[in-house]
């Protein structure tokens, strides 16, 4: 290999992966350790590559410590669900499992999948086996591998939608680790003698997480530019001609570390459809070979590209593919949010997209919303599929004409179609899980969202801006699960109750926002927004979005540290 991004010794996680015997480690023994609900330390890292995170309820830590009990440890299982589409049978199994674990809620994520929380160690295997019976797994849904492949949406073009869904599945499967460890450890498969080589990943997998996306313009619901590897569907008529390749996007930063930054992906070429898998593999293996394996905060593809240069990357890619890519085709994004409500497809089927607050589905008798029950009955009674959107909403798709009225009645009865849910602010707002379970969280996110949104909405109303789209995203830490750096208003947790306020993203996710104020509490955030909304209402140009407005009047620095190539080419 010619260049690498570092010569420092590999990080501890690298050593763990390398010594893991194909992601097995001592997981089987760890799972059988009766005295503790935890895994052994190294296994806590390894299990991520099987799509599982060890977590604990951080709010109970101190109390349990005083009781001489270990923390309230459980596991989160993230499902591998390419394009976020699942059958009713799969939905029913996930719904069952949600009843049996955690707090009885079902969590939909910004990567178009389910997260099952609160699964105890002893029930991991039986849970994964239940998923396996309906062909669901969690392989590589976390960890230093290619994560769940997400995919854009176009109900108005069902043929194309199916093609892209198939492409997402193909990408996901092609980029799976070859290790059979998951099947042996959790599903009871026999180990084949000699073990398996890991032809794509090699013995230590990737230096860091790797996120792949397929976007279908004009909608950027997937946040194309936030991904390590992106494919933009280029369509002629109704025919998929190929994809623009996008590389080097990523959200995660660390507070106070200037060397970490969010970065928008660069659009670097065009490929025909049959080159999808070879190109994906080439990008992934470049990162495998050149990514920084000593410093995990500098290990994403975005840093590899910034360290070695985009030209170097193009050259390396051409070498691996045997030829350079064609120049990228033109494309335009015009929207990012989901179309909430009914849509009719050209083939006479219906889609219904429901807003879900923070992606959380639960039965809440107090509010009259029985989301899980309603969706469960829908899955039992109607022929349809489910699509989890990258905006943490949920679509019921492929609904027959004849079922539309009955389905709507059922969902209404369970409080799932409420008009106030449809304001653009509520529709587009995103929050990560954060406290109390996420080990990285520094502040609330998902649990705060339902309180904050009405207060922001009241401010919009006060300034005559109600109904105006406003992209609000909250994360409990700077790692960026809810892609807050692409929001018009981004709130990034710093400490309990304190957030950095970032402003100036655009409405379709093509521009990063920038830090406006640091460490504000809720009152200060609302005060700032009150003032800013006042100016926006008074000084905006026609239909000017909030992010565009604050940037035009110079409230946030127009300079983005790593201006993406796209903005020049697409401008």
């Amino acid at each position: 290999m010619a260049a690498t991004t570092t010569s420092a010794p590999p990080s501890a996680v690298e050593r763990i992966k390398l010594a893991s015997d194909g992601l097995r480690g001592t997981l089987t023994a760890s799972l059988a350790d009766a005295p503790t609900a935890a895994l052994r330390e190294d296994d806590q890292q390894l299990i991520k590559l099987h799509g599982i995170y060890q977590q604990d309820d951080r709010e109970l830590r101190e109390d349990r410590r005083r009781r001489k009990l270990e923390p309230a440890i459980s596991f989160m299982i993230r499902v591998r669900l390419p394009a976020g589409i699942c059958s009713t049978a799969q939905w029913l199994v996930m719904d069952d499992l949600a009843s049996r674990h955690g707090d009885g809620s079902l969590k939909l994520t910004t990567r178009q999948t389910f997260e099952l929380q609160g699964v105890i160690k002893e029930e991991l295997a039986s849970t994964l086996q239940a998923m396996d019976r309906v062909l669901l797994d969690s392989i590589a849904a976390c960890g230093d591998v290619n994560r769940n492949v997400i995919c854009g949406v176009a109900p108005e073009r069902p043929g194309l939608q199916e093609q892209l869904h198939a492409a997402a599945i193909a990408l996901s499967e092609h980029l799976l680790p070859a290790s059979r460890a998951y099947h042996e450890i959790f599903l009871g498969a026999e180990r084949v003698a000699g073990g398996e080589p890991e032809p794509l990943y090699g013995p230590s997998y990737l230096p860091r997480k790797f996120k792949t996306v397929i976007a279908l313009p004009p909608r950027n619901d997937v946040d194309l530019y936030a991904h390590d590897l992106g494919f933009v569907a280029i369509v002629e008529g109704e025919q998929l001609r190929g994809y623009n390749l996008c590389v080097g996007g990523g959200m995660g930063t660390s507070h106070g570390e200037a060397a970490t930054y969010p970065r928008l992906a660069d659009v670097i070429g065009f490929l025909p459809t049959d080159q999808l898998l070879p190109v994906a593999e080439a990008v992934l293996t470049i990162q495998r070979d050149f990514g920084d394996r000593s410093n995990r905060k500098h290990a994403r593809l975005k840093y590899t590209i910034d360290t070695l240069g985009l030209d170097w990357f193009r050259g390396e890619l051409a070498t691996r593919l045997g030829a350079p890519l064609a120049p990228p085709e033109d494309f335009q994004f015009s929207a990012r949010g989901d179309h909430i409500g009914w849509q009719r497809t050209p083939t006479g089927r219906h889609w219904l997209t429901l807003r879900t607050e923070g992606g959380r589905l639960r039965d809440d008798p107090a509010s009259g919303v029985r989301a899980r029950r309603g969706l469960r009955l829908a899955a039992e009674r109607f022929e349809l599929r489910f699509r989890i959107t990258p905006n943490q909403n949920l679509s019921l798709i492929d609904i027959a004409d004849a079922d539309r009225a009955a389905l709507e009645a059922l969902l209404r009865e369970h409080g799932l179609l409420r008009s106030q849910d449809w304001t653009p602010l509520r529709r587009d707002a995103l929050a990560c899980v954060a406290l109390p379970l996420c080990p990285l969280a520094m502040a609330e996110a998902e649990r705060w969202l339902p309180d904050l949104v009405p207060r922001v909405e009241a401010l919009l109303t006060r300034h005559g801006l109600v109904g105006e789209p406003l992209g609000l995203r909250i994360t409990g830490c700077p790692n960026g699960c809810a892609r807050p750096y692409l929001a018009e208003v981004g709130l990034i947790g710093k400490a309990p109750g304190l957030y950095n306020l970032l402003l100036g993203g655009d409405r379709v996710g093509q521009r990063l926002n920038a830090l406006y104020r640091e460490s504000l509490d809720e009152a200060a955030i609302l005060a700032e927004l009150d003032t800013l909304f006042g100016r926006w209402a008074g000084e905006r140009r026609a239909a000017e979005g909030f992010g565009d407005f604050v940037r035009r009047i110079g409230l946030v620095d127009g300079h983005s540290p790593h201006p993406p190539a796209l903005l020049e080419s697409a401008a």
Binding site: P35, R66, R67, K68, L69, E70, A72, E122
Partner: protein, 593 residues
Amino acid sequence: MNVPVKPPGAEVLARVDQALAGLAADNLIWLSGYLYGLARQPAGPAQATSSPSTATRIRILYGSQTGNARRLAEAALAELQNAGRSAQLQSLAELRPRDLRGIEQALFVVSTQGDGEPPEDCRDFYEALAADSAPRLEALRYSVIALGDSSYPQFCASGRILDERLQALGAQRLQDRFEGDLDYQRSAPAWLQQWRERLPAITDDEVSALPGRQLEASVALQAPSPAAPLSVELIANLPLTAPGALRDVRHLELAFEPGQLNYRPGDALGLRFANPAQLVEPVLAALGRSAELPLQLDGAGVTLAEALRERIELSRLSRPVLLRYAQATGAAELQALLQPDHREALQHYLRNHQLVDLLRRYPDALDPQALLDVLPPLQHRLYSIASSPATHADEVHLTVALRADERAQGIAYGACSTALAALQPGSRIGAWVEPNPRFRLPEDDQRDVIMIGPGTGVAPFRGFLSERIARGATGRNWLVFGSRRRYFDFLYQTEWLQALARGQLQRLSLAFSRDGAGRVYVQDRLRAEARELYRWIDGGAHIYLCGDAFAMAPAVEAALVDVIAGEAGIDAEAAGARLAQLRREGRFALDVY
């Protein structure tokens, strides 16, 4: 033997006091006999290991598990001494049936445990007495005080068995057996008075033994007792179980001044407490009488509230109370429970009912004075100590399960545990040590120990492990613990995990009965780990078992028999004999209740 007796001078007494400082009550009592033995030796020192078998004419012999029988025996001795007579006090643990041949008058005070068992440390004596080889005892005249709890089917069985066996061996009964229930303190004095009157006239031998009183007095000075507890300070009162656990278990830390309490891991702590409001208030309400109502109790005036709070047992219902209610009400359901063939139903009833339930069901059946006359006095409670003085100097720790059983007729509160739960750090409580000499770590630190303690039965093993670590014991430590759910009630989890990680606890076997699909208990773990268990036993390990005496202990003993039988390739009978042998050797010790 006639030796002129005179009290020693002040200097000698001071030397004696110095030599005895810090000795526990049981040692001092033993020494009283030892010294007498020394005095009777023709020449040279007595052998320290010999039991004081050379007799005074009157011997008071006790078999005690919780200290009640021992204390009653001590009281009998004190009364005798007050009447100007002398006797020798001795535990049946130190006596062989052969020794009875040299005794003219014996008073036995024995308690009954669980299902008719004698106290743990008297089993050797009972076995030997029951054997065909037991000596004829025609010269012995004896009386038996049997203590028990009539809510158990085998009420006072160990006293009855003793009485019958002594008869069979030819001994002469001086007075009919006394069977004392929970209220024995009220009825025993009259019986003892009668016994003293029946004793033969005073002899020279007794006169010669009178200096023993001096030692008895120093016992009282040295060690806190139920009658004179030490006021200790509560410094921590922490929950050990998570919210949602079936039972709230507390970790209590009590502090005292250096040297005030002497204990060893394995001992129990006695606590003096008052009935908590949760027990007193419902009783007062059900009686519908003024808290200040003047009443008589044990010949003195007392208010109703005082009696309920400090004098009377409220949480444990006993057979005499039920009997009195049956007489007063004529209720068929109560009379049925009192039939001899309904012992199990009676026990079940007594375990699930409290006084207040009777008061509510049969209001006005007994007036408060009649109630006070029949209710047993408030019993003190004992808790296995959960600390080692080597690790926590001048502290004693307890593991206390709070009883608050939800029942259709209301919550049944435990008396002492509820009182303890409400104590705030800084408050004080009366305490004393009940030594448990049969439940001790091996003297030899190279020995392995296997500690089986589900639930709060784990308490003494926290003290054991601390002690072993502090001593630098090289033998291995194996803890077998069980509870319902790891998340909620794995008592002292972080301490065990730390000891495991540091290599101080070599093996930790766990049975959480409600975590998995099947119910798994400690006995199941023992069977599952039979090979290793037997390897340890065969290698000389000491086995300790602490906790519930009714369901758990027999199940664990059965499992141990199975393990020995299976691994040693012998039949169950031989394995049982092997376990019994381990028990006699002190390698299998129980602290069950």
